[in-house]
């Protein structure tokens, strides 16, 4: 058991290195000079080429990309993610400040996706080809096909500006930093949009998985024994149907993290996604490296956790993998 997870973590490390190497190589091909890019033209005029070269040496920018990457990595290991070329502030602080907001949003959204997706998937499967099934399937396919930002804007239009029941953006109302109710009100719309968009996927898979199980022999046996429908459903079918669903959860998570970029932008939610969009627009490569590192780590940790849950639910997997 533990040996297996040790191996999983060992595999995740090179993947994470691969991600950062790829991003670093791409970002170092960015046009423009990080030293002169944000410099006041008057200051720039007073500097000679020698000054610039010296500055470049000090920052290690005269070195080839592989050496710069190794230096970056060495700094990261010591908790130094470098400085934003736009704001000049340490990236570790900027990213750290926003991690909480992003995690809150993603965790709430994931919870909503599970709480909505699983039960409705089961209901849909149990009533296969019934009216509820068709209705739910229609809603699902519409949610999957509509871009997250369009859903978000429609929600904003209805609940934010027309009915005025929910705040239209930000983490909290200015001056109410410690008001829990206010913070929750701000969380409702972004979390619901992100959650429902992913609930739709989850529901599709739960329905398929449940239908698979319901048509298996041991369910027929249970029916033949005369067990009550509810008992069959909960005690026999659901447990087995959940196994593949957990794998799907692991697949949906990176997607959810990706969609959070959009949700955060629409609702002005001060998270990592919003930060990455701003960094790209500002052409701030060091900042993007910081975001990639954190999001990459989070995604890999999430997939390992999903794997862990998988083996807890299904002892057969644990047994096979342990050997």
């Amino acid at each position: 058991m533990s040996a297996y997870f040790f191996r999983r973590v060992l595999i995740a490390v090179p993947v994470l290195l691969g991600i950062t190497i790829a991003a670093f190589s791409v970002l170092s091909a960015a046009p423009g000079d990080p030293i002169t890019a944000r410099m006041d033209p008057e200051v720039r005029a007073r500097l000679t080429q020698e000054d610039l070269d010296r500055r470049r040496r000090e920052l290690g920018l005269d070195q080839p990309v592989p050496i710069r990457y190794v230096r970056w990595l060495a700094d990261v290991v010591q908790g130094d993610l470098g400085y934003s070329i736009v704001t000049g502030r340490p990236i570790a602080t900027e990213v750290g400040n926003r991690l909480g907001a992003s995690l809150t949003l993603m965790a709430s959204a994931a919870l909503i996706a599970i709480l909505v997706g699983l039960p409705f998937g089961v209901v849909s499967a149990v009533n296969q080809y019934g009216r509820i099934d068709y209705l739910l399937s229609a809603v699902t396919i519409i949610l999957i096909s509509t871009p997250t930002f369009v859903l978000a804007l429609i929600a904003l239009y209805v609940f934010g500006v027309t009915l005025k029941v929910l705040p239209v953006g930000d983490l909290f109302t200015f001056g109410k930093e410690n008001d829990v109710v206010d913070r929750l009100a701000h969380l409702v719309m972004p979390a619901m949009i992100l959650g429902l968009a992913n609930a739709a996927q989850l529901m599709r898979y739960t329905r398929a998985s449940m239908l698979d199980v319901l048509s298996s022999d041991y369910i027929t046996t249970a029916r033949a024994k005369g067990l009550v429908g509810r008992v069959i459903l909960v005690r026999h079918a659901l447990r087995n149907a959940l196994i593949p669903v957990i794998t799907i959860l692991a697949i949906i998570l990176p997607q959810l993290i990706g969609e959070a970029v959009i949700t955060e932008t629409v609702f002005n939610w001060p998270g990592l996604g919003q930060l990455s969009v701003r960094a790209a627009a500002d052409r701030d490569p060091a900042m993007l490296m910081g975001v990639i590192l954190i999001v990459g780590t989070a995604t890999l940790v999430a997939s390992i956790l999903a794997d862990f849950a998988y083996s807890v639910v299904d002892p057969r997997i644990r047994y096979v993998r342990d050997r």
């Binding site: 691969g18 429609i154 904003l156 239009y157 990706g258 790209a280 627009a281 490569p285």
Partner: protein, 300 residues
């Protein structure tokens, strides 16, 4: 002797393949939603590609008299903040969506197939390298990778197509390699080998027909995904740039509260068209999947 055996084998394979294709088409035509999707997509195609040819619609012309004009006889979907005709912009934006969707997916199917063949045939180090790259690309949200690339090459139509093409191939590679490895175990491949058929020939005659089905499914859903991705990037200001019309960029106008509330005709139509387009492609994808793999019928 071997020539005879070879030609007989060919005939058998070709014959079976054709009837399989016909079966698939028949199954596809039975899929009602897929037909609806096909009709919707055809209509959208016709309007977006053909209409600009017959009716001059200028998506960038600004008419100062029409600024913020609601839908009416002059501008059927109204005009935006700069007085540009929303209908013209929706038509041209849809065109861009289709170009990105089909262009990028077409490119990455080719890239993915080539890499999959390299991994499968090359084995060893090449296989390891390609497959680990695949894992790496799949491990991180696609949109974030796109953002990193765009920050380097700069936004624009060409950038979006190239970025999606460069990042979208891993799934194709996995399928091609998987099929190749599975086929290698088949007896008829061993037989062809024994008969002295070249690898190139085996790929063209046995592998490609076998992966055509799964690749069509991946490509169809890929088009839907690429259209959504382009819309999202343009919405974030990192995709197609104004004055070029893009549906996602048009929706972006709604981020200003006054437009969101006061000018719904500016952002709602492009939003609906994206959804409709993706919905149609997804229905077609469902139909194609069910047609190709009868076991998956009416499942997910």
């Amino acid at each position: 002797m071997s020539a005879i055996a070879d030609s007989t084998a060919r005939q058998v394979v070709v014959g079976e393949h054709e009837s399989l294709a016909r079966q698939s088409v028949r199954r596809f035509l039975r899929h009602r939603l897929a037909i609806v999707g096909l009709l919707v997509l055809t209509t959208i195609f016709a309007v977006a590609i053909l209409l600009p040819l017959v009716a001059p619609l200028d998506p960038t012309r600004t008419d100062y008299g029409a600024i913020r004009q609601p839908p009416g006889p002059e501008h059927i979907l109204g005009a935006d903040l700069s007085g540009r005709d929303v209908w013209s912009r929706v038509v041209h934006g849809t065109r861009i969506s289709l170009i990105v969707g089909f262009g990028a997916v077409g490119l990455y199917i080719v890239i993915g197939t080539v890499l999959g063949l390299l991994a499968g045939f090359g084995g060893g180090l090449a296989d390891q390298l390609i497959m680990r790259t695949t894992d790496t690309v799949l491990a991180i949200p696609l949109i974030l990778l796109c953002i990193v690339f765009i920050s380097v090459v700069g936004p624009g139509l060409l950038s979006v197509i190239v970025v999606i093409a460069l990042l979208g191939w891993p799934q194709t590679t996995r399928i091609v390699r998987g099929q190749l490895l599975a086929l290698r175990e088949e007896e008829f491949i061993t037989a062809s080998r024994v008969l002295g058929v070249a690898d190139r020939e085996i790929v063209a005659r046995h592998l490609l027909p076998n992966i055509f089905g799964p690749l069509t499914v991946v490509a169809t859903f890929g088009v839907a995904q690429a259209i959504l991705l382009e819309a999202a990037l343009s919405f974030l200001g990192l995709g197609v740039r104004p004055p070029d019309p893009s549906l996602g960029e048009m929706v972006n106008a709604a981020r200003a509260p006054s437009t969101l509330q006061g000018l719904p005709w500016v952002w709602l139509p492009p939003g609906i068209v994206i959804a409709l387009l993706v919905l149609a492609v997804n229905f077609i994808g469902d139909g194609v999947r069910d047609a190709i793999d009868p076991r998956s019928t009416r499942r997910a």
